[in-house]
Structure formats: structure tokens, C-alpha cells
């Protein structure tokens, strides 16, 4: 295999399964006489986006605002990505009360995250591996998005959706449209009015 591809593999820290898959595809492409890595001049014929080796790092920052209320509960928050047809293509995270025996606990109140629930939240088994997480306190929270979650994104326009619902509080839905993959490092922001503070989306090609 060409040396530059090997370097690329190491840099990306691709896991074994993905690497095996890529090797098989690469071998097939080589046998077919095609190019292994796409050059700018011509893209491979079959599934150009799967053969594209560019790594895209996506990071989210979500601010849970400090609210002046007498009875405060940490909000339930969900983050996901939708395509132009408003279909969910990636479930990124959902923060809720993972356990406990009182009323506010667990998956009972997840449907309050109305859009997340109907776009795909309801199809998950809970706790959802790599997605379910405990509810967060007031402050700024960062997540680096696992590349595996973004494998369903082909070239195109998407929106990041962030929805929050708070017990005896309100509900807010924010969205950030973005282009995938990004050509250069991109930082996009949106700020909520009540249940969410600043939400930042960083994409680093």
C-alpha cells in the first residue's frame, strides 16, 4: 500500500474493524486498477465519500444557563444532527437522570424532548451506548463527537439540533445549520433565550 495512506491510518487512529474494511476496499480498488486515495483531479467511481480519508473533528460546547427559580432541576438535553429532509442522521448525546426512584428519574420524561423523541430518540434502547449521559449542572459542557457517530453523513447540508426541557420549567430547541464536510476550520454559534445558553459547534477538517 502507498506510504501516505499508512501514515494517514496512523494519524486517524482508525480502529481495527474499520481498518480491515478499508483495506478490503483498497485491495479491490487496486485490483480494478483504480486510484487508492482520491486525488483532487478525479474522484474514485464507487462511493467517493467512504474512500475519502479526510478526518473531520467535531466538537460541541453547550452552556446550561444559571436560572433564578425557586425549584431548580437540571434540564434534560438532547443533541442530534438532521439532514435537509429533517431526518435524524446522527444521535450525539442525551443527558437525563439516569437512575433514581423518584418521579423525576429516568426515561419517563424523555418524550418531553419532543422533536428529538419523534426524530429518532424513541427508537433507541436505553441506556444508549455512547449517547446516554447524566444530566449536567449549570455551566459550559464540551463534547468531542466520536467520528463513528458521523459515519452516516455524506456531503451536504445538515443542522445540529439541541433541545432542552426542564422539570417545572420550559423547553427550548436550537439549531445550527452547517456544511459537511467543512473545507476549513469552522466555528458556529447560537444562543438560547431561556433554557439554553450558548451552543457552539466546531468542525476541524
Amino acid at each position: 500500500m502507498p506510504a501516505d495512506v499508512l501514515t494517514l491510518f496512523n494519524a486517524m487512529n482508525v480502529d481495527r474493524v474499520a481498518m480491515r474494511r478499508v483495506v478490503m476496499v483498497a485491495l479491490a480498488a487496486t485490483l480494478a486498477g483504480g486510484m487508492l486515495a482520491p486525488s483532487r483531479a478525479e474522484e474514485p467511481v464507487a462511493k467517493p465519500d467512504q474512500l475519502e480519508m479526510k478526518s473531520q473533528m467535531m466538537e460541541l460546547k453547550v452552556e446550561i444557563p444559571r436560572l433564578n427559580v425557586s425549584e431548580y432541576h437540571r434540564p434534560y438535553v438532547a443533541m442530534w444532527i438532521q439532514n435537509e429532509k429533517q431526518e435524524s442522521v446522527a444521535n450525539l448525546a442525551v443527558w437525563y437522570q439516569l437512575k433514581g426512584t423518584n418521579e423525576g428519574a429516568g426515561t419517563k420524561w424523555l418524550p418531553d424532548l419532543r422533536q428529538w423523541w419523534r426524530r429518532g430518540g424513541r427508537d433507541l434502547e436505553f441506556p444508549a451506548d455512547g449517547i446516554s449521559g447524566p444530566s449536567r449542572p449549570v455551566g459550559e459542557h464540551s463534547l468531542v463527537i466520536d467520528e463513528k457517530k458521523l459515519s452516516g453523513l455524506t456531503r451536504g447540508r445538515y443542522t445540529l439540533q439541541v433541545e432542552a426541557a426542564r422539570e417545572v420549567g420550559g423547553r427550548e430547541l436550537l439549531e445550527i445549520p452547517f456544511q459537511w464536510p467543512a473545507e476549513k476550520p469552522t466555528t458556529l454559534e447560537v444562543t438560547g433565550k431561556k433554557e439554553l445558553g450558548k451552543v457552539t459547534l466546531k468542525i476541524n477538517p
Partner: protein, 268 residues
Amino acid sequence: MSRSLILAAAVVLMFPLAANAHKVWLLPSATVVSGSEPLVTVDAAISNDLFYFNHHALQLDALVITAPDGSHVEAENKASGKYRSVFDVPVPQKGTYKIAVARKGAFASWEENGERKRWRGKAEDIAANIPAGAANVQVNESISRIETFVTNGSPTTRVFETEGKGIELVPVTHPNDLFSGEKAKFRFLVDGKPLAGLKIEIVRGGTRYRDSQDELHVETDANGEIEVSLAEPGMYWLETTTSDNKTTVAQAGRRTLSYVATLEVLPK
């Protein structure tokens, strides 16, 4: 001849089998649920004001609850007061439950030895209960369904499998997938076939707090479908009725069919 006609008319008027003059409805505490032990509680009432209990309780003898896997579920903690019946429905299975009050009724009258006789019961028992020498037989049948739907997790459609009798609703848009401002399509079947020109009435709940009914009137198209966009979130009452002469007994008669559903539209 005219005397028996008048008598027959009087008798029919005394026992109307037409759709209830008052609105009949089920009202679930939620339609979209989740959790480790999900349960809904449902009110059942007859009242013109939606959704307020101010007239009569709906009796629960004909209550049929169907789980996502098609099995029957028993309601729990049933109670009937003056204005309202109430019951609990545990909904542990993932998928859509159908909660329904379904009735098939029949009324027949005839002349026997110069006397006017009457009988009321199930449609399938009519033929057996009308004697051979009966004259001037008048038959009225009714098939009515009052339904609502609750989904735990992702919606499923097994509960919409049709019986092929009376009016039935089949989703194009699933009834537990309704959001304000979004188009929703429903198909209505009569005896298993789509019927065009069926008049549907839809009224949003909360009538006490506004000055007009704001009801929506739509008619089914050639596919038996309607498409509506409900702008406000809330609980909605939907009704359609029709009548024909396709009674189960050969004698001339009238059949009244009615269908009511309570649908929840969530805010976007």
C-alpha cells in the same frame, strides 16, 4: 298502511339509533409515553363541551383495549361516576395501543297478530328473533366506535388492522405522530373499503375558553382520505357518521355507522 307507517316512524323516533346527539369521547392522560412502568389513565364521557365532564358518564361495558402485539388488555381501577368514567391502562409493550368502546346494536319492530312488537339486541341475533309470520318489519342497526391511541416508544400499526365492518380509521399519518402546523393524512374505511364523500368533523378541545366552536369540516376524497393541518396543539375530537341500508337481515332497514377518535396534537 299509513297507520302502521306512522306507528313505525313513531317507534323509530322513540329509540333513536343515530349517532349520539351529544359528543362521546375518551380522553387519555397522555398519548406519547416512555419509562420503566408506563401507564395512562383515561376518562370516558358523553358531553357536548370538549373536553369537559358535564352531562353523562360513558359506560365501560364495551371497552376493548388492544396492545401492540394484538392481545387484549384489561383496564384497571375502573370507576363510573355521574359525569365521567375513568380507568387505568398499563402500557408496558413498545408500540401503539388502541383503546376503544365499540358497540354493535340492533332494533327491530314488526306486526304480529295485529300487535306491534319490538326487540332490541345484537345485530347478529335479529334474524332469530323475528317470527316467521311478521309483517311490516322495520330494522335499525348501528355500529359505533369511539377510539383513542397511546404509543410507548416508536409507533406501530398492528392495532389498525381492520375488521371490515363499520367505519374504521387507518393511518397514513400515525395518530400519535401529530404536531401543530404539520399536514396529517387519515384514511377512512367503511366495511373495509375507502368511501369518498364521508363528512368528517374535527373540533379542538378547550371550547369553554373561546367564543366559537372553530370546528373543521372536511370530506374524504376518492381514496377515503382527508388531509388536515391542525395549527394549534391540544386534544382534538374527530367524528364521522354515515348511514346506508346494508343491514345484516334481508328486510328493509337502516344502518347507522359512527366513528369518533380523540387525537393529541403536540406543539412543534
